[in-house]
């Protein structure tokens, strides 16, 4: 029982981070009908920025803010200067650009900040005694903090998308770009904003996961998060914001339980398992569990 609660707590923490990355992927997909392979690496870059600021004595919360700003600028710039021109050439060139960004950004991190693992202070207290006991299981403040932060971030996203004028424009541009443009919406600008926002969500995810990741803060920190995040987005449905959250949480919990209880898979086949589920969902229900019919923009 104790073990189960602790595993669930771990799973939920990872699940929230996956949900954030999946949400970022969905936001991008709604703008550009593509999966941003570089999403997690963009997040890694801004997480490094935040870490670097904390080593200069700046508060982690201020660093988080700065990382979000940098993320927004990078995301918007990538959409405007690389992705949009590539889209005019077709789906394959767009994918190639994103794959190229994936390696290039990762390499840039290594060039600037080195190959070693950095330990990063989290946003929340992470001492040995910072936990609450639930049925003799320890739930650390760190985990609770991640849940709370992710819930707030998700809530803000959903508020912006569903309740604000900006969100209305985003939904319109994603639904029917041609018609949205004829209604006076500058669709390109909305897409640029979408990519920027996705990068902000990614930055938050990066800063939440880096302090507790087995890779700490290093060039390998975000790759698994990309794998789980994209699996979560596909499982939930690439064009469903809610699906991304459900997919992320489900994968996080499943990962932790399967690793704990299914011997064959063990600790090595984590990502394979997530991706196997993704492939099965794609084959059985290509729109994901919550996605709507129209999957490809014609």
């Amino acid at each position: 029982m104790t073990q189960l609660i602790e595993r669930l707590s771990d799973g939920l923490t990872n699940g929230f981070v996956y949900a954030l990355i999946a949400l970022a992927l969905v936001v991008v997909f709604k703008a550009s009908s593509t999966v941003n392979f570089a999403q997690a690496e963009m997040a890694l870059f801004t997480t490094y920025v935040a870490w670097w600021m904390t080593t200069r004595g700046i508060s982690i919360w201020l660093a988080l803010l700065a990382a979000c700003v940098v993320g927004f600028i990078i995301g918007a710039a990538i959409e405007r200067t690389l992705v949009r021109p590539a889209e005019k050439r077709g789906e394959m060139p767009t994918l190639l650009i994103l794959v190229a960004l994936f390696t290039a950004i990762n390499a840039i991190d290594g060039l600037i900040w080195g190959l070693e693992y950095h330990s990063m202070d989290g946003l929340f207290p992470a001492g040995l005694d910072d936990y609450v006991s639930v049925a003799s299981a320890r739930i650390y403040y760190e985990d609770i903090g991640v849940w709370a932060a992710a819930i707030i971030a998700l809530a803000v996203c959903f508020m912006v998308i569903n309740k604000t004028r900006l969100g209305l424009l985003m939904r319109a541009a994603a639904d029917n770009p041609a018609s949205a443009a004829l209604s006076g919406i500058n669709v390109g600008k909305v897409y640029t904003f979408g990519w920027g926002s996705a990068a902000v969500i990614g930055s938050i995810a990066g800063i939440l996961i880096a302090p507790i990741s087995p890779h700490q803060l290093s060039m390998a920190t975000m790759f698994p998060v990309l794998i789980y995040g994209s699996a979560a987005a596909i499982i939930g449905g690439l064009n469903s914001l809610g699906g991304a959250v459900v997919g992320g949480l489900t994968l996080g919990l499943a990962e932790s339980l399967i690793t704990g209880y299914v011997g064959f898979i063990g600790p090595q086949l984590h990502q394979t398992t997530a991706l196997a589920v993704m492939v099965i969902v794609l084959l059985v229900r290509p729109t994901g569990i919550f996605g709507s019919r129209r999957l490809e923009r014609v």
Partner: protein
Amino acid sequence: MTRESTLPKPASLPAKRSLMRPAVIGIVAVALLVAGGQLPDFRVSQIASMLIFAIAISGLNLVAGYGGMLSLGHSALFGVGGYTTAILISEMRLTPLSTMPIAIALGVLVGALMGLPATRVKGIYLALVTLAFAVAFPEFLKRFEELTGGAGGLVVRSVDLAPPAWSGFDRFERSQWMYWLSAVVLVLCLFLVRNLIRSRRGLSITALRDNEIAATVCGVSAARDRISLFAISGGITAAGGSLYAMYIGALSPELSFTVFTSIQLITGLIIGGVATLLGPLAGGVAIVIIPAVTLDLANGQAYGLVFGVVLIVVVFLLPDGIVGRLQKMRVFTGRSQSAAHTST
């Protein structure tokens, strides 16, 4: 990506010319190979690795170039070939050459498996499915540690990799042997690709890429063609992987068989020119030269960045790749149409 027409041309060339061309190409190729063999040992070895990557890329070219389906999973196919050869040599005591057919057969099998989803999903979704293979492969290596050496990798003793006696090379001439062996396998692979693409099957594959609905209406079986395309592609790339194992002698999951290897192969293909016969050769050269040249930059850490930047630049500025551009400039023959045809 636009390509030259792949329509068969009417048989109007004089017989003399059609015999001349392959003869000339053959002589030039042999001359190049012999000349290449005279270079210093480390050069010969470097060229051998270019040829090996060219083989792997020509496998990828079938799926990504002629088939129009971006695969991020070819690192796994490359790895299947490599690990099969390495394991069979060190565990089963087979000779390196005799492992190749088995490596290829397994590559065909895994390739077909990867092609199965291609019958249902495409584009970005297929890229994700193939990414799953790329990510799963190193995890499987670690899971089945007893066989694969796990994260530590697998080392084949160099005595076991000695050239066979009939080749005339002794065990200190392994570079020379790998050079010739890779060259022969590459020629065979290119020959296979060329004939496949010119066949009826090849025609329906490119038709599927260009307009699936129209092609299926004309009786092309999308499912069968895509699976067989992936299977053959898997076999060719695994052949490259098998040679790579013989060449390098030491395999590790993190160094050679992650998704980054797939990205390298893709970059090579795009640089060389998608859906061109000789593009993979140019690509193989490029992906060996890029890390070599950037080795001095920032402790070798720059090459991931260089790969990314080169890929972006090529996508925007040289979308046909080197070979595709040369074909358009009618470098290979005086007539661009037939040039496009013979090398497509």
